[in-house]
Amino acid sequence: MTSMAGWGRRFGPLVSRMAAALFGGYALAALASVAALALPMSKPQAVLTGQMAGFAVYAGAVIWVFAVRSARRAWAGLLVVAAPLLVAAWPVW
């Protein structure tokens, strides 16, 4: 058990960051692409804008996750950005 705990202490934050980058980043990008529907433009244009911008959001999120000091901050940052996007996306979802 102690060796597993040791492993967890050593690699836990890294695994957490990888999850934040891969899945958290994608979730944020997906959320942003839906939030784009709140933009003042026709539906097809908003859909396409969201799709195109999504990849930039994803890449930015991954960089953020590995740039900050700790895994906790990485997740916190994603959540802070997600909050307003969620507000924008809520009415259409």
Partner: protein, 540 residues
């Protein structure tokens, strides 16, 4: 409770984090990216490759009048695909000596093949008689959906790889603080330094292109990768129709009337498009329910003359030939998408731009390749015992050989298979592809069995030999040898031969350099590494 300070020592800078991110993201899908980059690069000459792989079709010195050809093929499709709900044909142009068409099969039962496709002779309208081959489309399709797996899986893998590439590009730029000064620095013959400089020069030189090609690659398949907005917003058939019209000139079949009415003159319709866009700038003709009173025909603009793939087309009533609508513009976001899409495919290019695309893209391939090699070179110096590297090192080393040198061998073998497999072979087109993968697997086996350096040198020489001899094989197996192509002004065949020799020279040069290379003895290191800028210097 322990504070969440990670495995990173305090004070390790942003640059070091980004450097690690760059190393691991680059390595993890590096071979996939290398293969995508190289097969994508040659796909800029997809049409020329397809012509070379169908040597039975004569060289097209002059482009036939697209309007006449359109009518001819439309008539033929009436016979080949009667009652088809939708067919579409791509008109011949300077790079195509046949007409590709596909159609939905009329009344296909569920589970039956619902699509047909074929290449037609522009002069006769008949299906072309040439060897079974996928032509340049194999490399093209492989570069975003691979093979031996469902298309959607392949596209997802390609998307993940492209996303990794995007992250590698951004983190690489952050890692690289003196990005422009270093561009003018090149330290030849200095081992790891030279690899680093090569990697940097290739990356910085093509940086705008690499970033563009990666992002636009994601955009081409974004409806698959980011479907969420579409799912939330597009709920009715009418909304779907609106969105599709922003993206594509393929008109969708509605309901047939059930009343037969022959298709009006397709030639006249194409003539109207030619007046608008130029004789040779009409791209494709799509018809729905041809032969029915409800038929409609769309004549779309070609790729030349504008850097955008957004749909522009004339829509006609099929039975009367009356112009129903001129579609010449889409919304701002759709136009942006059209431009990004066009930038990726580069179909708007004239031959100079096309060669530039090819060369910069080749530099991108080399960027990925040098990055992969550098991972090994960097770590070899730090091995406790260079004679017995650890498993991870050996795996990367061997995969590099098969992934880089082996891919050149396998791609050339694909072209050899095109000339060597008997024309009567059943399922011939697929056997060319199996040949590619069998040879690629053999290069991996060879890379595992031989000492690393020997494996590199042998595979590079093999690639050089196969490339150099391909024009000879072509001269023996077809009536179109190099001297004949030159004399006849056959640019595709002569160019292909010359290209093979140029690439053979490149591979031979790489083989010679690898052969001569003597790894430097490990530099004596101080037992305790000095901290640099307060950070522990972990890499090279």
């Amino acid at each position: 409770m322990k504070t969440d300070q990670d495995a990173r020592p305090a004070g390790r800078g942003l640059r070091q984090s980004m450097s690690d991110l760059h190393s691991w993201v680059g390595l993890l899908l590096g071979w996939v990216l290398y293969a995508m980059f190289l097969t994508g690069t040659v796909s800029y000459f997809k049409d020329e490759l397809s012509q070379w792989m169908r040597p039975e079709l004569p060289a097209q010195i002059q482009v036939p009048d697209p309007a006449v050809v359109a009518q001819r093929i439309a008539d033929e499709l009436g016979t080949v695909a009667p009652g088809s709900p939708q067919w579409s044909l791509r008109l011949p142009d300077a790079r195509n000596n046949s007409v590709y068409a596909f159609w939905r099969t009329a009344g296909a039962a569920p589970g039956q093949r619902a699509f047909g496709e074929g290449n037609f002779d522009a002069a006769t309208g008949r299906t072309v008689t040439s060897r079974g081959t996928l032509g340049g489309d194999f490399f093209y399709r492989f570069h975003f959906q691979f093979h031996y797996m469902p298309v959607v899986w392949g596209r997802w893998i390609a998307g993940i790889a492209a996303m990794f590439m995007l992250v590698a590009i951004v983190s690489g730029v952050i890692t690289h603080k003196k990005i422009f000064t270093d561009f003018f620095t090149f330290r030849w013959g200095r081992g790891q330094r030279s690899w680093l400089d090569a990697h940097n020069a290739l990356s910085v030189f093509g940086l705008p292109f690499h970033a563009m090609i990666t992002y636009t690659g994601l955009v081409t398949l974004m409806a698959l990768y980011m479907p969420w907005g579409e799912r939330a917003a597009i709920r009715t058939a009418a909304e779907r129709q609106q969105l599709t019209a922003e993206l594509s000139a393929f008109i969708q079949p509605g309901k047939p009337s059930g009343e037969t009415a022959p298709l009006a003159s397709v030639e006249d319709m194409v003539r109207q498009a030619q007046e608008r866009w130029g004789r040779d700038n009409v791209g494709r003709v799509t018809a729905t329910h041809a032969g029915d009173a409800a038929a409609r025909v769309a004549v779309a603009r070609g790729d030349g003359g504008r850097v955008s793939m957004s749909p522009q087309y004339l829509e006609f009533e099929g039975s009367t030939g009356r112009l129903l609508a001129v579609h010449e513009g889409v919304g701002a976001a759709a136009e942006t998408r059209g431009v990004l899409y066009a930038l990726h495919l580069g179909r708007f290019s004239d031959s100079v731009t096309r060669w530039l695309y090819f060369l910069v893209s080749l530099a991108g391939t080399a960027m990925v390749g040098t990055g992969l090699v550098m991972w090994i070179v960097k770590r070899r110096q730090k091995l406790p015992d260079p004679e017995r590297p650890h498993v991870g090192f050996r795996v990367v080393e061997r995969l590099n050989i098969a992934g880089i040198a082996g891919l050149s061998v396998a791609m050339t073998a694909f072209l050899w298979a095109n000339r060597l497999l008997p024309v009567t072979l059943a399922d011939r087109a697929n056997w060319e592809i199996h040949g590619f993968f069998i040879v690629w697997a053999l290069t991996l086996l060879h890379a595992v069995l031989r000492p690393a350096k020997k494996a590199w040198v042998e595979q590079l020489w093999l690639a050089a030999a196969l490339l150099a001899l391909l024009p000879v094989l072509n001269a023996v197996t077809t009536p179109r040898p190099f001297w004949h192509s030159l004399g006849a002004g056959d640019r595709v065949f002569a160019g292909m031969d010359a290209m093979c020799w140029a690439l053979a020279g490149l591979h031979a040069a790489l083989a010679v350099r690898t052969q001569r290379h003597q790894p430097k003895p490990r530099p004596a290191r101080k037992p305790v590494r000095e901290p640099v800028n307060g950070a522990v210097l972990r890499e090279g």
